[in-house]
């Protein structure tokens, strides 16, 4: 490892630890922070590169922001940089959640906490619904997408098929459909 690489790796780790503490509301707040720190201030990467990291990060399975952090870290300081970014981003939430779990188990049977939790649970479906609207706009582009979504829903609710299998079926359907379209376009 070169001296510059070492210095960068350390700096990435510490900066991403800081990012990891303030990532409310999904990964986009981290993207905004990376933009501010590394595009505008340090000039390590360009806006276009950051856009690539997020769009590629989104199309790889797993945690979008974890993927984007790895792509950024690799670009900035190779594999050590990638690991530093990923660890930095996940350590704070893991530590915080461990505290939350401890408290949750202590208080969840308290009458007043239980009542508040009934309210919180009632808000979960609306929360998922509001998040899904954005997904809906980017995910459902034509009738084919709509049918696949309906099929996914039915397989989940009525066939009780494993969700892992349903995702794989979705991938297969996407590949098959694009193949059909490509052939039609050629002939």
């Amino acid at each position: 490892m070169t001296k510059q690489q070492l210095r960068r790796t350390l700096s990435i780790f510490l900066t991403f630890l800081k990012f990891g503490c303030f990532t409310f509301g999904g990964g986009w707040s981290i993207v905004a922070q990376i933009q501010k720190e590394y595009v505008e201030k340090q000039h390590w990467i360009t806006d276009e590169e950051l856009l690539d990291f997020t769009s590629v990060g989104r199309s790889i399975p797993g945690i979008m922001i974890g993927n984007a952090s790895v792509l950024f870290g690799y670009q900035a300081a190779g594999v050590p940089g990638a690991l530093a970014a990923l660890l930095g981003i996940v350590i704070p939430p893991v530590v915080i959640m461990l505290g939350v779990v401890y408290v949750y188990d202590l208080v969840k049977d308290n009458l007043y906490v239980a009542r508040a939790m009934i309210g919180v649970r009632a808000a979960v479906v609306p929360i998922i619904f509001s998040a899904m609207q954005k997904l809906f706009r980017s995910g459902i582009r034509d009738v084919f997408c709509f049918l696949v979504a309906a099929a996914g829903l039915c397989l989940c609710l009525f066939v009780k098929m494993s969700n892992v299998l349903i995702v794989l079926l979705g991938a297969a359907a996407g590949l098959a459909w694009q193949e059909v379209r490509a052939r039609r376009g050629l002939s």
Partner: protein, 187 residues
């Protein structure tokens, strides 16, 4: 061996989900089939993950892992969900150009995005049957229904942030469930 099971479970969740809310159906499926959590706890985990910093996937993995097998369980589960970032994202970083215009990936995503939406709707249905269940007409909890409608309104119309909505829902839960207990409906 619970650690291995946790790791494999979250490995599968990691490899078949694409960030944020698309993880919820997979997490719900794995937690319920393994008996690691109840549907109510899955709702709690979504709300708690939205209230604490960090990616949803890491928060859920830590929560589920810690409740199932303590701190070691939390680490193992979080590590499992990070594997795609550690493998696929590193590969993608090495071959960023090729990855960016990968046709197969884009075509698979064409089917995966809608199928994920279908799965999220299925989770919403399952969660609704659990979170709004109560004694009114033998099946409905009126406080939960009221809170659900209020949450939907503040999220969609007033554009409230998710943490703020959750706090409101918790407060309403305290008040309305108190009212429900004090003045039980004659049904």
């Amino acid at each position: 061996m619970v650690y291995l099971e946790l790791f494999l479970s979250f490995l599968m969740i990691g490899f078949t989900s694409f960030g944020g809310m698309s993880m919820i159906p997979l997490i719900s499926d794995q937690m319920l089939t393994h008996g690691w959590m109840t549907a109510a706890e899955v709702a709690d985990i979504v709300a708690i993950a939205e209230m604490t910093p960090g990616p949803l996937g890491i928060n859920c993995a830590t929560f589920a892992g810690a409740r199932t097998a303590g701190v070691a369980g939390a680490i193992v589960a979080s590590f499992g969900v990070m594997v795609p970032s550690l493998t696929l994202a590193v590969l993608a970083a090495m071959f960023l150009k090729k990855f960016k215009d990968s046709r197969v990936l884009n075509e698979a995503m064409y089917g995966i995005r809608p199928v994920a939406i279908g799965m999220i709707v299925a989770v919403m249905v399952q969660q609704s049957m659990n979170n709004y269940a109560g004694t009114l007409f033998g099946c409905i909890s009126w406080p939960a229904v009221v809170i659900g409608l209020v949450s939907l309104f503040v999220l969609l119309r007033l554009k409230w942030s998710v943490p703020k909505t959750i706090l409101l829902a918790a407060a309403l839960g305290l008040v309305l469930c108190g009212v429900e207990t004090a003045f039980p409906l004659p049904v």
